[in-house]
């Protein structure tokens, strides 16, 4: 195993070659905000929260997919990056209808946590109040498009781990929407195995267990990692 040494925010880190900057930062105890990435799923680098500055590169690089290189100098929390992250969160909040007080995920929501983390107490950009729907056709679960941030974790977990490919992204641009089957009510899609993995990995209250009311949803993306690890290495931790 070859090792790379690099410097992240004035801290020296040594890590296995082929690791990502995000893994290296975590190794060094440095938190970089993320949303779309989830260990165990293929990365898409779509939310752009994890962008970092690397000396010698004019471009900002997404830590979740950028491989470490020997001698890299990485900055993860410059004022420029902090401003960017706040704007990304503002863009997400203004794009949907996120009313935390009445949300099933209140207190356990990654988006809410991120807003706190980047210091977004209000949005400088105007809210767009889109007209979005709620799908309660599934016997066990619900989907509230108002709270969806299009991280596509549900799409990926259903395709890559469960193998059912119930979900996909439909339409495009501002009209993008998570769709089930031929853009049908979730409950009408035969392919769904009712496994609940999509609910488990959803960072917000967009996908939820039907019985949950305000503040009751507790997602546990960590269970996915345990599952993927177990499958891959044939090792279980019961």
């Amino acid at each position: 195993m070859s090792v790379c040494t690099l410097r992240i925010d004035e801290r020296d880190v040594a890590i296995e070659a082929g690791s990502t900057l995000l893994q290296a930062a975590r190794e060094a105890g440095i938190a970089i905000p993320t949303l779309c990435v989830l260990e165990g799923l293929s990365p898409v680098a779509a939310c752009r929260l994890c962008l970092v500055e690397v000396s010698g590169s004019e471009k900002l690089l997404p830590a979740c997919i950028t491989p470490v290189q020997e001698g890299m100098q990485v900055h993860t929390a410059t004022p420029r990056l902090q401003e960017i992250r706040r704007t990304v969160i503002e863009l997400l909040f203004t794009e949907g209808n996120h009313v935390c007080a009445i949300c099933v995920a209140n207190g356990h929501c990654e988006l809410q946590d991120l807003a706190v983390e980047v210091g977004m107490d209000h949005s400088r950009l105007p809210y767009r109040f889109p007209d979005r729907h709620v799908d309660l056709s599934h016997p066990l679960f619900g989907l509230d498009h108002n709270r969806c941030v299009l991280c596509t974790r549900c799409v990926r977990v259903c395709d890559e781990v469960e193998g059912a490919h119930v979900w996909d992204v439909g339409w495009r641009g501002e009209h993008c929407r998570i769709i089930a089957g031929l853009d049908e009510p979730w409950g009408a899609v035969d392919a769904c195995t009712h496994c609940g993995k999509c609910v488990e990995v959803c960072p917000t209250g967009a996908l939820f267990h039907k019985g949950d009311t305000s503040e009751e949803k507790h997602s546990d993306p960590g269970r996915l990692q345990a599952l993927v690890h177990a499958r891959h290495h044939r090792q279980w931790t019961p």
Binding site: D159, A164, H165, V166, W167, D168, V169, G170, W171, R172, I179, A180, G181, L182, D183, E184, V189, A191
Partner: protein
């Protein structure tokens, strides 16, 4: 929309029923049947052995795919750069106030058809009408068979 699609068979065969042929198959399906109705999409998904959401997700990504039957006539106003500079906005504004759908004309737009020397232009039932003015366009549309 019919329930079986024998005319699609040659296209499916040409692409060996492989997933990468999806867009070509959708293009031909729409050409043959006018639009991508649910039975047709299900048929294509089964033939290419693709998840329904993947077929719907792909089809809905592209502007030119449609999921409802077309009206008898179509009028696409070009809203490319040259046509915009030459007054496409005024054409659109005038057409928006006309009861076109009642007369079987579907109004749409296209971002440049690549013959900008005729700007502002519209494409009516596949034919390019160059150098349009509001009056000429309305008169031309009135001449279309209802």
């Amino acid at each position: 929309m019919p329930e079986s699609f024998p005319d699609l068979e040659p296209v499916l065969q040409r692409h060996g029923r492989q997933a990468d042929g999806l867009i070509e198959v959708l293009n031909h399906g729409q050409e043959l049947y006018g639009y991508l109705g649910e039975p047709l999409l299900r048929h294509i998904a089964r033939e290419l052995r693709l998840p329904f959401s993947r077929v719907q997700g792909t089809a809905s990504f592209y502007h030119l795919f449609r999921f409802t039957p077309p009206l008898r006539h179509s009028c696409l106003v070009c809203t490319g750069t040259a046509c915009h500079v030459k007054g496409a906005g005024a054409l659109l504004a005038v057409l928006a106030g006309e009861p076109l759908a009642e007369r079987g004309i579907e109004l749409g737009s296209v971002r440049c058809v690549g013959t900008c020397s005729g700007a502002p232009l519209v494409v009516v039932d596949g034919a390019v009408w160059n150098l349009q003015t509001s009056t000429a366009l309305l008169a031309g549309l009135r001449r279309l068979e209802p």
